[in-house]
Symmetry: C2
């Protein structure tokens, strides 16, 4: 896959995938959204090989989804915090989780809840302007040259 080409291609989906288009990266972002910041915690939580985690964290920093912050000087230790673009990605993951719950939701599963009220939250992708679910709209892509 030519991620470089996707990065600034005309397709918005391709641009998104070039930055967060593999399962490890998405699971790291999920855990960052749940408050994890440290290498060891990501590593333990995901059961990911350290060399892969190092690469994925570097790629997410490079893509502008995580910010690396030094929290200890001796020994040098960094933590990884979601940027605005990274935080903004979390609803995409939640939409993915909502889809999986709907179609593959058998057995025990975590609930997405409002941390303040405890109410269950059901992600739905809508058109921002009208509130109509995208699943009810026949959408298509208009190429830039058509504009």
């Amino acid at each position: 896959m030519d991620a470089e080409k996707l990065s600034w291609g005309i397709c918005p989906v391709g641009r998104g995938l070039a930055r967060a288009g593999d399962a490890w990266s998405m699971l790291i972002l999920r855990d960052a959204g749940l408050g994890q910041t440290r290498f060891d915690d990501f590593q333990k939580g995901l059961g990911i090989a350290p060399n892969i985690l190092t690469k994925r964290l570097a790629a997410l920093v490079e893509a502008g989804l995580l910010e690396r912050r030094r929290y200890n000087d001796r020994p040098p230790r960094d933590e990884y915090v979601l940027t605005e673009a990274g935080r903004d990605y979390l609803p995409v993951l939640q939409a993915l989780g909502g889809w999986a719950r709907k179609h593959f939701g058998e057995g025990a599963m975590s609930d997405l809840v409002d941390a303040n009220s405890g109410r269950t939250v059901t992600p739905l992708v809508v058109d921002a302007e009208t509130g109509v679910p995208l699943s009810e709209i026949a959408v298509t892509l208009r190429q830039p040259s058509d504009a």
Copy 2:
């Protein structure tokens, strides 16, 4: 990555990623959503190696996102059509595209439009019950055992 473990784990995001968690699969689903059904068209459109495409299509059929249909007997030729779960996945991709447009939207880019009205559609992930954008809700996960 232990996709088998993710498939029926307690995390909905993990379950989703186990079924459609790599960039090729998502690009195939994107193109299926735009009406492509045939191996050669996917192959040409994506510039994907045929052996990888074969594997990804088989995995998407196995996961229940695509259905394989014989459209010609001599020579035998199959086409790949989105299932209900596959069609339902498209808004997740559109949410991803909307995110990429917002944060990495420089230069020429395709527009997501309503095929009937031609109006630009802006994907937004909201809580289905209240219509509040998920980005404005502090969400957390409740483990099944807490219920």
